[in-house]
Symmetry: C2
Subunit: 119 residues, 2 copies
């Protein structure tokens, strides 16, 4: 067992839209991801996904609305719900979801990252 300093872990990588595994517990995984720019519309068939912003401001577009999430705020995107994360400037996000959740959900393409690194 070890203590994890979130900011120090974010200093270890710089690539965007490439979640890293910080720790696994029970059926969940704590992933850290840097976002900048617009991602792709997608959903996760069987998994809810939590976005907790630690730095910057994240826009999450939904088909029928949008949410803007700042530091110290989080939201859960329920399974099956289409969403598009957009980061005008760099955003640091803690994701909580199963280890097996694909970053692009149902839309497998050039932004899909199948094998996540542990940091």
């Amino acid at each position: 067992m070890e203590k994890v300093n979130v900011a120090e872990k974010f200093d270890l990588f710089s690539n965007y839209w490439s979640p890293k595994i910080a720790v696994e517990l029970n059926d969940s995984c704590i992933k850290l991801v840097k976002m900048k720019g617009e991602f792709v519309w997608h959903h996760h068939e069987k998994e809810d996904e939590l976005f907790l912003v630690v730095k910057g401001r994240l826009l999450i577009e939904l088909r029928d609305g949008e949410f803007r999430i700042g530091p110290g705020e989080f939201m859960v995107i329920a399974r099956g719900v289409d969403h598009l994360p957009v980061a005008e400037d760099e955003v640091h996000v803690i994701l909580i979801e199963p280890k097996t959740t694909l970053n692009t959900g149902n839309v497998v393409g050039d932004k899909t990252i199948a094998n996540l690194w542990k940091i």
Copy 2:
């Protein structure tokens, strides 16, 4: 679906050692808890438990050592591991664990809270 501001949720209650449910997703639950003073030695038989500190400094004593966790830091206490949370001053903590996890684990007593409120 709604956005959750963690600090605003902590403003909604003041009692210590009484976790509140912020949101559930997949098999996990995000709980918010204020700690002050010394809790009780306990472990969780089948569940790993994540402590993410958002305010203050938390001491987690283990049988063979201790960890001090500050804001922006977290650690996972693996299932079966005895631990004693100690908060010299008030600490605000996000817990990630199954909904069914009892706050006192294997040590049911006057500090046990069986039915958690949703906030």
